[in-house]
Amino acid sequence: MSALRPYRAILLALALLALLPVLFTTGTVRNFLIFTLIVALAAQGWNLLGGYGGQFSFGHASFFGTGAYAIAILQARAGLNPWLALPVAVALGALAGAVIGTLAFRARLRGSYFALVTLAFAEVLRIVANVLPITGGAAGTLIRLNVDPLNFQFADRAHFYWVTLVFLGAAMVLVRALERGRFGARLVAVRENEDAARALGVDVLRVKIVAITLSAAITAVAGCLYAQNFLYLDAAIAYGPWISVEALLAPIIGGLGTVFGPLIGALVLHGLGELTKVWIGALTGGSVPGIDLVLFGILLIATVGFAPRGILGLVARLRMLPA
């Protein structure tokens, strides 16, 4: 059992999360939970590169969208089973990461420049996806409704939630394993001081490219789940800036470079976001679009300014958790 020790906290958290759909049986709450877990998964991908590697991407939509479009197109146009299309879609997302990463890191882009170039790649993909016939152009891609677990469609929302949870758990275990291994140590060394890491014999370029490839693969899984959950995609959803922002907000607010940061960040952000929407909605007697995002922006600035290690850092500082 000692081999499981580092993963105990993850398994415990997953077990608790697995109980949620038993407690909350309404479709609204379950849909909210599914969406939040998908965001947490996309954010875990971002966290691997941004949190552990210190490379802040502003364009993880490139990988989310590539995964989402790939699975949707393979299924809707080529008739492939979505479970078989999933690994292909994830591989394509990883490939997008490898290509963008190789180009950007070979050119020695870092900091703001890296953020800008990733954003630009995502925008190019968004514009291209909006006109290509294969993506359905501006009309988008629709996955036919055919409820069957073999077809990745579940009659019970709880089942989709549990499937999502399994993928999220796998990503958390993977990140924990990487964190504990040599690769994680090299990645953190690159984040802390690139020149020092190089002097110690770390192949900085290789580490960064491997990191962005894995990061993209994880975020592509989130894209696949999104496509299977909503059964519809267009360019603004798949490659839009919203997911790039979501993917970076959650880990930063939860705790950068920690296995639990993205999950906690996503739960807190979307929990508070929903509460704010309901509360303001009740006050004004109507829905107020954008109010949750105003809150997210304030939380982002407050976190960067006052709690650079996020919620987990705050908790550790309050000694509620043995550090």
């Binding site: 802040f56 180009l103 953020a115 954008g290 995002l293 922006g297």
Partner: protein, 290 residues
């Protein structure tokens, strides 16, 4: 394939759009040159300025050009305060933090505008909105011709300010050597905030130039901000002449690629230039050194 008149009109239209792009980029590159930060809130600030012009017109019937008398000092003060009270304290001088803080500001501004104005698209009706002037065989839109002259005037004033005034000298000193500037008694925090205020004031001017012919909604700034980033990178980060030339160039590229590839693909040309310049010549086409 295309007659010379159509091509010439496209180029001139591109130059006129490019002039406003250039002004937006000047604000961005000025802040980069002095503070060495990328201001992600630049596009959202432009949107806010456009809404300010819209509201002044809707509520008081104020002409978009006259609105500058209110918006330019207003946005200068706003930019000054935001740098002094939010960006400076929250980012602790770290580049990555500044990137995130300005991203946070962009999210707040954009969505606060969405809360107040909803996602409707609005525009201003002015009698001269569709006025044209005839130059030989060409018809040029009057508001866009005005825009070109105003941009040139602002660029000249900005250059005079930076070259001649004491504050301008201090700004240049801080841009070159922050530590040395502080040692000779320049208040670096104040200069940072003034520079940020100038960047915002440029946007207020740009908003007044855009509103007579353009529309505004809470997300409109995004369309401009990536273009402005491209121009800044192309012109060399921190270079004001580079931003002016880059703006005009990008305006023409957009206009011509729109003509040849259609409206929806037109912007791709810009982003590809952006990516290529970043990957292969991050110092910019006009910038000499990093």
């Amino acid at each position: 394939m295309y007659s010379p008149e159509i091509l010439l009109t496209a180029v001139l239209n591109g130059l006129m759009t490019g002039a406003v792009y250039a002004l937006i980029a000047v604000g961005l590159t000025l802040v980069y040159g002095v503070l060495h930060i990328i201001n992600f809130a630049h596009g959202a600030t432009l949107t806010a300025a456009m809404f300010a012009v819209y509201v002044l017109h809707a509520a008081f019937g104020l002409d978009p050009y006259l609105a500058m008398a209110v918006t330019v000092p207003g946005f200068f003060a706003l930019g000054y305060a935001v740098q002094r009270l939010v960006i400076g304290p929250a980012s602790h001088g770290d580049d990555g933090n500044i990137l995130l803080v300005t991203l946070g500001l962009a999210i707040i501004i954009e969505n606060a505008l969405l809360v107040v104005f909803r996602s409707d698209t609005r525009s201003i009706d002015v009698p001269y909105g569709f006025a044209v002037i005839e130059v030989g065989p060409l018809f040029l839109s009057l508001p866009r011709v005005i825009a070109v002259f105003v941009v040139l005037l602002v660029a000249l004033l900005l250059w005079l300010f930076l070259a001649r005034s004491t504050t301008g000298q201090a700004i240049r000193a801080v841009a070159k050597e922050k530590m040395g500037a502080a040692l000779v008694g320049i208040d670096v925090g104040h200069i940072y905030a003034v520079t940020f205020g100038l960047g915002a004031a440029c946007l207020a001017v740009a908003a007044s130039l855009l509103m007579p012919t353009f529309l505004v909604n809470p997300r409109i700034g995004n369309a401009f901000v990536l273009v402005a980033f491209t121009i800044v990178v192309l012109g060399g980060m921190g270079s004001i002449p580079g931003a002016l030339l880059g703006g005009l160039f990008i305006g023409v590229v957009e206009s011509l690629s729109g003509l040849f590839m259609g409206e929806s693909l037109g912007q791709i040309g810009i982003f590809l230039i952006f990516i290529l310049v970043l990957l292969f010549r991050p110092t910019g086409l006009f910038g000499a050194k990093a």
